[in-house]
């Protein structure tokens, strides 16, 4: 698996909102016109976008590209309103524009030919898997999805997803929808059925990503995680989004920009707070042996 980055640079544009579809609760779908994003996005990539030119909130915000519609030059975001930046985007009316830079970041690498892709999503982490599911299908790969949230209201975005025809297991912490329990438990249960070679892909809150990485380590399956740090610029200049990544032969790891070298990283390389990377643990164990 080789990291594939977008071959051409991202484009910064004022993009008009062309469609807005509220879902339940704080969730909604927003569709913008942006030829470059529509034309050359690979699943896992994101945009930096801001609704207006007011100075508060100040910066653009990062969002995974959920789907693209090249024929219409448009792309769609799956948005959860959590603060003032997302609120301003949600308040846009059709025809109003937003400043938008994209596509950005390192996409999900394709799994090896004989692997089944297990897409593990928490909350708005489902977004990039819509596009990825499509890519996998076109590439003729097997895939299935696991989608977790605290409660049924957090699984609003799954209808565009089921439309792809992938097997989908929903889980809620409170059992209000789908399986009762954590999404990584559902993945583990699936692994217990000995499905053959798999590659894990995880996107969602930090704790879920960490759990997925531990699971992958325990079951010795390759995994890719899409991290979710605070981002200021999206292009590697503010150095605000760094995460500690420890690649093979790196004794301590380095701060790397999640916006340019991620957001998708090999789970083994991620140095989790207070724990280190699984690569480091394995190498330490090898030394002991």
């Amino acid at each position: 698996m080789v990291a594939t980055t977008s071959p051409r640079p991202p484009a910064s544009r004022d993009v008009p909102l062309v469609a807005r579809r509220p879902l339940q609760g704080p969730y909604l779908l927003l569709t913008f016109r942006h030829p470059e994003v529509a034309g050359r996005t690979r699943a896992g990539q994101f945009v930096m976008i801001k609704a207006n030119t007011a100075a508060d909130p100040l910066l653009r915000r990062p969002f995974s590209i959920m789907s693209v519609h090249p024929a219409e030059d448009t792309f769609t975001l799956f948005l959860k309103v959590v603060g003032s930046g997302t609120r301003a985007l949600a308040d846009l009316r059709s025809g109003e524009t937003a400043g938008c830079l994209g596509p950005l970041g390192r996409p999900f690498p394709m799994p090896p030919e004989d692997h089944e892709a297990l897409l593990v999503a928490g909350g708005y982490g489902i977004a990039p898997f819509v596009l990825f599911g499509d890519e996998l299908r076109r590439a003729g790969r097997r895939a299935r999805a696991f989608y977790g949230g605290r409660t049924s209201g957090d699984l609003q975005g799954h209808d565009p997803f089921t439309a792809l025809g992938l097997p989908l297991a929903c889980c809620t912490d409170d059992g209000s929808f789908g399986h009762h329990g954590r999404v990584t438990d559902a993945v583990e249960a699936y692994l217990d059925t000995r499905p053959g070679a798999v590659t894990l892909y995880a996107c969602g809150p930090d704790a879920m990503l960490h759990a997925a990485a531990r699971l992958a380590e325990r079951r010795n399956v390759p995994a890719q995680v899409s991290l979710d740090p605070w981002m200021g610029c999206g292009v590697g200049t503010c150095l605000g989004c760094v995460v500690r990544i420890q690649r093979a032969d790196e004794p301590r790891g380095k701060y790397r920009c999640a916006c340019t070298e991620g957001p998708v990283f090999d789970a083994r390389d991620v140095v989790w707070a207070g724990e280190g990377s699984s690569r480091a643990r394995r190498e330490a164990a090898a030394v002991l042996r």
Binding site: P9, P10, R60, L101, W230, T237, L239, G240, K254, Y255
Partner: protein
């Protein structure tokens, strides 16, 4: 109609310069914007050796502002000269290196190495609030400021541009000290020292604790300081702080700055240079001026008489 300005022996095609630490090494924006449209680019702060920088979170938003404690993560001056500089070769823009150091000797050494083909000037960063040595320890003390600027002056034939800190009582003291020590121009200002508290965790929101405040929030303070500095010295002043539009840039130019730097706005919109350039041209046209230099320092500051009421 001309936007060109002369500055510290350089001729910039326009007065817009990308500010240190907000534009990477320039190459990050290749393909996103045309680097040749910029008057100049200041590199991220560079020490002798590569640096890791601060723990995360490193940036947080505050009202109309950005608070950062990056801690000068960077590749070091040698890697910059070796790997980055050649990539900037094809662009028609001034390349300015932001020189950092823990000691006076380190500043001088970095300056010596930075004097490479393709580098047009050196900006001396004596005002970073996010390092434990160097930075403010130099820029907050007139004697140390003099020492660093004089040492860099001696170490290079390139134009030397100290970058002043706003975290001082009287910026004109430091402006004059730099002029005396042989500076060719001044950059004014770096970030304001700030603290934001995460009230749920009762800890600073930044891992480092305090940070440097930038963005539109600080613009009135920055304009005031740049104006004070420009009146205090004869060398040109480059205005910095919260510029995001042509109007913002004009505030500094009218207040007496020969050029301006754009920092945080790079993050908000990489298209900011085109927007500002168009706005400056439009301004000159509307006001019937031939050159941006006709605008520099044109502020009419009220005298006591005009401000009315005996009270102030």
């Amino acid at each position: 109609m001309s936007l060109a300005v002369q500055l510290a022996g350089l001729r910039l095609k326009n007065p817009l310069i990308a500010a240190s630490g907000t534009f990477g090494y320039g190459v990050e924006y290749e393909g996103i914007l045309d680097l040749s449209r910029l008057g100049g680019i200041v590199s991220k702060g560079l020490y002798l050796e590569p640096r890791d920088g601060c723990a995360v979170p490193r940036i947080v938003e505050t009202p109309s502002g950005l608070l950062n404690a990056i801690g000068l993560q960077g590749v070091g001056i040698r890697a910059f000269v070796r790997d980055v500089l050649p990539r900037l070769d094809g662009y028609d823009t001034a390349v300015i290196v932001n020189v950092c150091g823990d000691t006076v000797e380190e500043y001088a050494e970095v300056a010596r190495i930075a004097e490479a083909p393709g580098v047009d000037a050196l900006e001396i960063n004596i005002s970073c609030p996010n390092v434990k040595k160097g930075g403010m320890a130099f820029g907050g003390d007139p004697r140390m400021t003099h020492e660093v600027v004089a040492a860099v002056r001696k170490a290079t034939r390139l134009p030397v541009i100290p970058k002043l800190s706003p975290n001082v009582a009287d910026v004109t003291v430091f402006a004059r000290v730099c002029e005396e020590a042989g500076a060719d121009a001044l950059s004014c200002i770096n970030t304001l020292l700030g603290l934001a508290v995460d009230v749920e965790r009762r800890m600073p929101r930044l891992a480092f604790g305090t940070g440097g405040l930038s963005g539109p929030a600080i613009r009135p303070v920055a304009v005031r300081m740049a104006w004070q500095a420009a009146r205090a010295v004869r060398i040109p002043v480059i205005g910095i702080g919260g510029i995001a539009s042509a109007e913002d840039a004009l505030e500094f130019l009218i207040a007496g700055c020969r050029a301006v730097q754009i920092g945080t706005a790079n993050f908000v919109d990489p298209g900011v240079y085109s927007r500002i350039l168009a706005g400056l041209e439009d301004y000159l046209r509307r006001h019937g001026r031939e050159s941006i230099n006709d605008v520099v320092g044109s502020l009419r500051f009220p005298d006591a008489e005009e401000t009315g009421g005996g009270g102030c």
